[in-house]
């Protein structure tokens, strides 16, 4: 298969070279002293000879070898060119052509060995310094006239002159390969593609006209235009298609070199090399593929001795697979090596400072794997010429994503790893569904489209249900989350229509419904990129020009899903987490769900959880009147949660073995909360909050469409391990903080964070309560939500400024997301600091900073003010 390709290429190239040679030789006859021309001819023959040797075409090699020696003499000025010598070279050229034709036809050089020609060439070479008398071909004296009638030699008289005049026409059949292939500049193909794109648009426009007019002739013509355009489009697309084997061809060499360098044995298997892809895509995946293959060789496949020890064959296997699937191309690179050591990945990320220790402990295996895609990440211990420069997988990922592809990583420890790349076939023209919303038109790529749903009249209300404010639709028995495009894009909503149009979309492995104002039709669209000013908008994949000449935006289904919150877990989750950016919206956070006692669904923010552990019953010891376990060389106090929550039940004996423990950390100390079962980690907008008076609970809310009770960690700890807080060192101790936030739930969260850090916290739900709180007791620091009722936190600042004793109190503003922090940073509004609400670490850090600044400045003004 590959050899065929190589030979094909050789044929095409050689035919081109020979055609040039004909011209050059004729030219040479006129200017026999032209050194540049001679050099070029020599090079051409040399190239053919080299390739023949490589491909083991011995006849051809013999001929060209003699011709080469002979030409080198000419080049070096050892002899002069005569017309008969030119004939000899031309004869060589023709012989070469014949052999090439035979190779093309049968793959063999053919029976004719051209021994006679070779011999004559040999003689000519030997004659250089010798007498000219016994010269075989003709009798060329130095004074022989340069002209088109060389003296024919006795044995090969007739064919020569004829071929001289019409090379390659009568004696040799024209080469099918050479004639069937033309080298075309890529620029021209790109231009054609652009033009076809325009033609498609114009065709769409005409089709639109056609539907408005009832003209039979126009109808027929436009039908034809339609067909021809489609065919032309396919044809032009095909000109740009290349088999993926083009890129794979160089991989065997890469693998071999890597194997030698690393002292490993690696067998490369390739499957689906004929899978065709658009040229631009081939270009784009070239480097990522090489990189992935190198990675597999370097990090994946073990050295032979290790492999033998663990019972694998010494030779490692690297498999490349490419196949079409659903309008996309899948490429898999898998090895049977060691897989990816997740613990080491985490450790590396920690070492490189890409991750904080407490984050590392919280990461799931899948998320940890994704750390590999972080910029600056490298698994190599040392920088070698093979790898370890830390420019790697992040570049691979960004390259693939740039062309609309997705990279996925699978690892089976001890068995190997697989990287799966999904890329679109082509980038240029895609089918799309045109929809309208908020008075604008948008296009949704058909690839992401699953179905269209139209809900009429009453049914629209009946079928869209609200689970605590979150719209869902019952689609054949399962719930489909719904987003409204108008809301996602901030467009004005149309007045209530009698029907609701919804498109069901697939983004990665999730589905969601997108409610739009209207569904128009499907069209072939030409994807055009957006300017860099708009690149940051994840909700658009590009733009296109519609039939009427106006621009319409192409929606990025994944971006829309993420922005609207229906796709909670983004594929960049790990990266986002590592950068500690709160990209999700208001009150969206990750919650750990678990069961304890009579509470089937309890939730605690994952950000508070240090890790999850299991301990066998036998490890639990009793000390200081409570249960403890030895954990990481420390004593970890355990709090049985069911005893705290179901106080009436009493401290039942724990039946589960091993016991499930959620470990909470606070700087130096840890505490384990014993639960019955860990259920899940949910990322969800918490929609409803209902406060309860029950000990140990903050309230309840809807998580993942089900009600869950939120644990009040603070109370639980106090109830069970009252002395836990004692001896909390540091500046935190005793500082009084007033938390002003209208949402009970958020307030509870903020409070629990501050409580655990050892601050004395009081709460206020609105401005009045803050004022009252400030009046009742001195406060060291105020933490307020920006949207504090009734008039926002600026009213609070104004109020505090009016009272001299309150002016010195620092105020920390909490905003909903990290973006808002940036937005606020520009305009100092009198807050000492501004932090995202759900970034506990950042908040605590800020509080600690403000509090310590306060300590040095002395708290006197506050108390003095109180006395005044």
């Amino acid at each position: 298969m590959q050899d065929q390709d190589v030979i094909r290429e050789f044929l095409v190239e050689s035919h081109e070279n020979l055609s040039r040679l004909d011209q050059e030789l004729v030219e040479l006859e006129k200017h026999p002293k032209d050194a540049a021309l001679l050099a070029s001819i020599f090079r051409t023959i040399h190239t053919i000879k080299g390739t023949c040797g490589f491909l083991a075409f011995s006849t051809l090699e013999a001929i060209t070898h003699q011709a080469e020696s002979f030409l080198s003499q000419l080049r070096d000025g050892q002899r002069e060119l005569t017309p008969s010598l030119v004939s000899l070279i031309l004869e060589t050229v023709d012989a070469t052509r014949k052999v090439l034709a035979s190779i093309e036809a049968s793959g063999e050089e053919g029976p004719d060995r051209f021994e006679d020609l070779t011999e004559r060439l040999r003689v000519a070479v030997r004659l250089t310094a010798g007498p000219k008398g016994e010269c075989g071909p003709g009798q060329p004296g130095p004074g022989g006239l340069p002209g088109p009638a060389p003296e024919p030699s006795e044995d090969s008289a007739s064919p020569e002159p004829a071929e001289n005049k019409n090379p390659g026409e009568d004696a040799v059949k024209p080469s099918a390969v050479a004639d069937a292939n033309i080298r075309v500049g890529v620029g021209l193909l790109d231009k054609l593609m652009d033009l076809v794109g325009e033609l498609v648009l114009t065709r769409n426009q005409i089709l639109q006209f056609n539907t408005e007019r009832e003209d039979a002739a126009l109808n027929a013509t436009s039908q034809r235009l339609n067909l021809i355009t489609t065919e032309l489009q396919e044809g032009v697309m095909k000109t740009r298609m290349q088999p993926i084997g083009m890129v794979w061809n160089k991989l065997p060499r890469v693998v071999r070199d890597m194997a030698v360098t690393l002292g490993k044995q690696i067998r490369l298997e390739m499957d689906g090399a004929e899978t065709e892809l658009d040229r631009t895509i081939i270009e784009a995946i070239k480097d990522p593929l090489v990189h992935l293959v190198r990675n597999s060789c370097d990090h994946g496949i073990e050295p032979p001795e290790v492999r033998v020890r663990i019972g694998k064959p010494p030779q490692g296997r690297l498999t490349l697979r490419a196949y079409h699937e659903g309008g996309q191309v899948n490429i898999e690179i898998s090895d049977d090596g060691a897989g990816i050591d997740i613990a080491r990945v985490k450790q590396k990320a920690l070492d490189k400072g890409l991750l904080r220790p407490e984050q590392a402990e919280r990461l799931s295996d899948r998320e940890a794997l994704n750390l590999i895609f972080l910029p600056g990440f490298s698994m190599a211990e040392t920088v070698t010429n093979v790898s370890g420069r830390g420019v790697g997988m992040d570049v691979v990922k960004s390259h693939i994503e740039k062309i609309g592809g997705v990279v996925d990583l699978f690892s089976r420890p001890g068995e190997g790893a697989t990287v799966k790349i999904k890329i679109p076939l082509t980038l240029a023209i895609i089918p799309g569904l045109v929809i309208s919303s908020g008075g604008e038109r948008f296009v949704i790529p058909q690839v992401s489209l699953l179905e269209l749903i139209r809900l009429e009249g009453d049914s629209s209300e009946k079928h869209i249900e609200y689970v605590q404010g979150t719209p869902v639709y019952r689609r054949r028995g399962s719930l489909l989350p719904i987003a409204h495009l108008n809301q996602v894009l901030g467009l004005k909503s149309a007045e209530r229509a009698e029907a609701v149009s919804m498109v069901v979309l697939q983004a990665e492995d999730r589905q969601f419904g997108l409610v739009v104002d209207g569904i128009n039709d499907t069209q072939e669209i030409v994807v055009k990129p957006l300017g860099k000013q708009l690149k940051g908008l994840t909700v658009y994949a590009g733009a296109t020009i519609m039939g009427d000449g106006r621009v319409a935006l192409i929606l990025d289904v994944l971006g829309i899903g993420q922005r609207s919150g229906v796709l909670a877990e983004s594929r960049d989750q790990a990266r986002a987490a590592a950068e500690q950016k709160t990209q999700s919206g208001i009150e969206q956070q990750r919650l750990l769900l678990f069961r304890a006692g009579s509470f089937a669904r309890l939730a605690v923010p994952l950000s508070l959880v240090a890790r999850l552990e299991e301990f066998p019953q036998s490890a639990i010891e009793h000390a200081g009147g409570g249960q403890v376990v030895q954990y990481r060389n420390r004593i970890l106090p355990l709090v049985p949660l069911r005893a705290v929550l179901d106080s009436d039940v009493g401290d039942q004996a724990q039946t589960a073995d091993p016991v499930q423990v959620i470990v909470f950390n606070d700087g130096e100390r840890s505490l384990g909360v014993v639960v019955d079962q860990i259920l899940d980690v949910a990322e969800d907008a918490v929609t409803v909050r209902q406060k309860t008076s029950r000990t140990g609970l903050l309230g309840s809310g809807v998580v993942g469409k089900q009600v869950a009770d939120f644990l009040d960690l603070n109370q639980v700890i106090h109830a069970a391990a009252a002395d836990w807080f004692q001896g909390t060192g540091g500046s935190a101790n005793g500082k009084r903080i007033l938390v002003a936030e209208s949402s009970t739930f958020s307030r509870g969260l903020i409070r629990s964070g501050l409580d655990m850090a050892g601050y004395r916290v009081r709460e206020a739900a609105n401005l009045d309560e803050v004022i009252r709180g400030l009046e009742q007791q001195p406060v060291d620091l105020v933490v307020t939500a920006l949207d504090l009722p009734p008039d926002g936190s600026s009213a609070l600042l104004a109020a505090m400024r009016r009272r001299p004793e309150w002016q010195a109190i620092p105020v920390l503003a909490l905003v909903d997301s990290a973006e808002q922090v940036q937005a606020r940073a520009g305009q100092a509004e009198g807050f000492q600091d501004c932090q995202p609400k759900f970034d506990r670490e950042a908040m605590l850090e800020s509080v600690a900073r403000l509090a310590s600044a306060l300590a040095s400045a002395d708290t006197a003004p506050v108390t003095a003010g109180k006395e005044r």
């Binding site: 648009l201 860099k532 020009i545 621009v551």
Partner: protein
Amino acid sequence: MATDTATLKSELAQTSGQFSTFFVADLFFGVDVLRVQEVLRFQQMTRVPQAPEVIEGLINLRGQIVTAIDMRRRLRLPPRAGNQTPMNMVVRTEDGAVSLLVDEIGDVLDVDAATYERPPENLDPAARELIRGVYKLKDRLLLVLDAERTVDLAVGRAA
């Protein structure tokens, strides 16, 4: 699009000493004439929801999609009077063509290099970031717009 960026850059680096001029509010700007691809009347635009506010929309320039940046908003100037439609000045940048929406198009001017000066320090920061220098013409000042910085929305955002 397929033009080699290096050649494009060198092309863009050339200056002719001639400026296409335009007005935004009472400011008189010039862009190197070689940079200006064309000047158009106001075109139908496609709004881009969620886009930065300086982006007025997208226009179809013979099959090419061009982002239109409102210069009033870019320079943090008050909006145009309601009945005044802006003009499109399409400039070539390293990132392709971008349309600048300006109030009015002026003449192409030859300027005397001797009259060039760095932009005054007391200029509004929003404008100063985007102005390369000033030519002191006889009756007014010609502000030389830095097209690359103008279309790079990161410039001036922090100010």
